[in-house]
Symmetry: C2
Subunit: 322 residues, 2 copies
């Protein structure tokens, strides 16, 4: 089969690689669509390798058709599925543990399904399992128009939270308003710390950080939890630990990729129970910004690099049948 | 009765105040000994007032004799007890919920018993409940020769952890070695971050902070938890959030005083079950640095201010009978 390798110049090269060999409890998926994540850019840059046991090439989520499945699993050849991966999605086929696979929600395309697992699993892991979000909480979602932000806003609203979110343009502000965001902070002209002073936040989901993060952490509500999952605007920030301990705050560093397979399986199972019907009915949306063929992966990466996207970017592989 | 009030010049004045009125489920204790905590210095300075429902004067822990108790409680008039308070210990009597009272461990003096609740409850709350400490963990205890440090080192060793601790003198280093500390860092000459690089820490209990904290947090083991309970060496520190989220670290701000009565009651009940026999047998020690009469509270505060103490400082009230 073929997969998208990274050469010594960090160029993407569609290359012949060995077919995946199915291990016990694994499903082989013929990949029809692979969604992009910012982690792919880091991996391409050599800073975020695939964890042990996964292909070396990029790709954290796919949708496609089951080619082979364990007899005792819920999957049968021909099932339309999406899956969360530790790596290996930029390829024609991928082997994945059966419990990291979910059905394509009824009525959704392969592209829409491929764009679900990573963003919704990251949102659920961090807001619900790490953050303990409950109805009535005020939640800050940084980068609300990103693939992750769109999933997190919808999940938080669905569970009864009040949502504050940051965006980088008026176009993105208008869009996140349609998702139900209650307080929208335009980073280009508004002050996040001032907004948090007015609306103390219980949980923050932060992929941005930057030097100003510390001043915002101080504004949290008593008992607040600030969850960091990436550092797009820079990693170093100064925090006043006196305010921090007196308010009983928590700062939580978190990655989905490093979690055990058991925990990922639990997250996916919870997501299917809570969200799949709502994805089918359109109450919760998988928002695609752009779909490109795998051959244009370079162009697709460029969209994420420039933060142009409003929603997910998806790569497709041409198939005779879907 | 009398209590130690703080006047407008922050002077301590032993003053006539109304006797405590027993509310439902409360015990009235005749105070024989009241132990000092650094929080008392902050409270005296106007920076850490008693929480609602507690006397305005200082004092987070006492030992004494039960004067009155609810009929349905385990306590009877004349019982020798110690108690964890939200405030009000610097007085002849104090009213306290029955489930925040514990018996004086067999064989211990009133002074030794008064010095137990705050340090051991703080250690247990943070190491065990917040930090999830388990046998085999490497634990950093800052200020190992303080009243809190001595309790935390003994608790961690008793539960099978490996203990790294910081001290400010060779005398204190020798002392914490007798408590079982495995790795001793003398702040005056050793580098804590370098020691942590050699011995990655799973849990840190930090009452020190200071500008250097961020560089130490980065050295933690994957999944490490850094718990801040005070900021003796300064509050502001810069943290690299990139290392932080990739290692899945947690920074936890925590105070015992702000916890619910239910949680404090659970902590005390756990402590009695786990440690009271060991305190009676001498396997775990309540270490008193100095005992002074209540009239010398000013001098007692001076000892804590200068960080001269190796163990707890206790104030006593003269009684005709103990």
């Amino acid at each position: 089969m073929h997969a998208m390798l990274i050469d010594a110049d960090k160029e993407l090269v569609w290359s012949e690689v060995p077919d995946p060999v199915r291990k016990e409890n694994e499903v082989i998926i013929e990949v029809h669509a692979a969604a992009l994540n910012r982690a792919d850019l880091l991996q391409r840059d050599g800073k975020y390798p695939s964890p042990p046991g996964w292909p070396e090439w990029m790709g954290l989520e796919v949708a496609g058709v089951v080619l082979k499945a364990p007899a005792q699993s819920r999957w049968r050849t021909g099932d339309k599925v999406c899956a969360l991966l530790g790596g290996g999605g930029y390829a024609e086929k991928v082997a994945v543990p059966a419990d990291m696979v979910l059905p394509v929600p009824k009525g959704l395309s392969m592209e829409e399904a491929a764009a679900i697992p990573e963003a919704f699993a990251t949102s659920y892991l961090n807001l619900c399992l790490e953050g303990g979000m409950k109805g009535g909480d005020t939640v800050l979602i940084q980068a609300g128009a990103s693939g992750l932000g769109i999933a997190a806003i919808q999940l938080a609203k669905d569970l009864g939270a009040k949502v504050m979110t940051t965006v980088g343009s008026e176009e993105k502000a208008s869009f996140v308003r349609t998702l139900g965001a209650d307080i929208i902070v335009n980073r280009k002209k508004d002050d996040l710390a001032a907004a948090m002073d007015k609306h103390p936040v219980d949980i923050a989901l932060d992929c941005v950080v930057g030097a100003g993060m510390g001043a915002c952490v101080e504004k949290m509500a008593r008992g607040g939890r600030w969850i960091v999952i990436a550092t797009l605007a820079g990693a170093r920030t100064e925090i006043d630990m006196n305010v921090f301990f007196r308010k009983g705050l928590k700062l939580i560093g978190s990655t989905l990729r490093s979690r055990t397979s058991e925990m990922k399986a639990k997250i996916l199972s919870d997501l299917e129970a809570k969200l799949w019907d709502k994805l089918s009915s359109g109450k919760i949306r998988s928002v695609i910004y752009r779909t490109l063929p795998m051959a244009k992966a370079e162009e697709a990466h460029g969209i994420l690099e420039k933060q142009q996207n409003l929603g997910k970017v998806v790569l497709t592989l041409e198939k005779t049948k879907t």
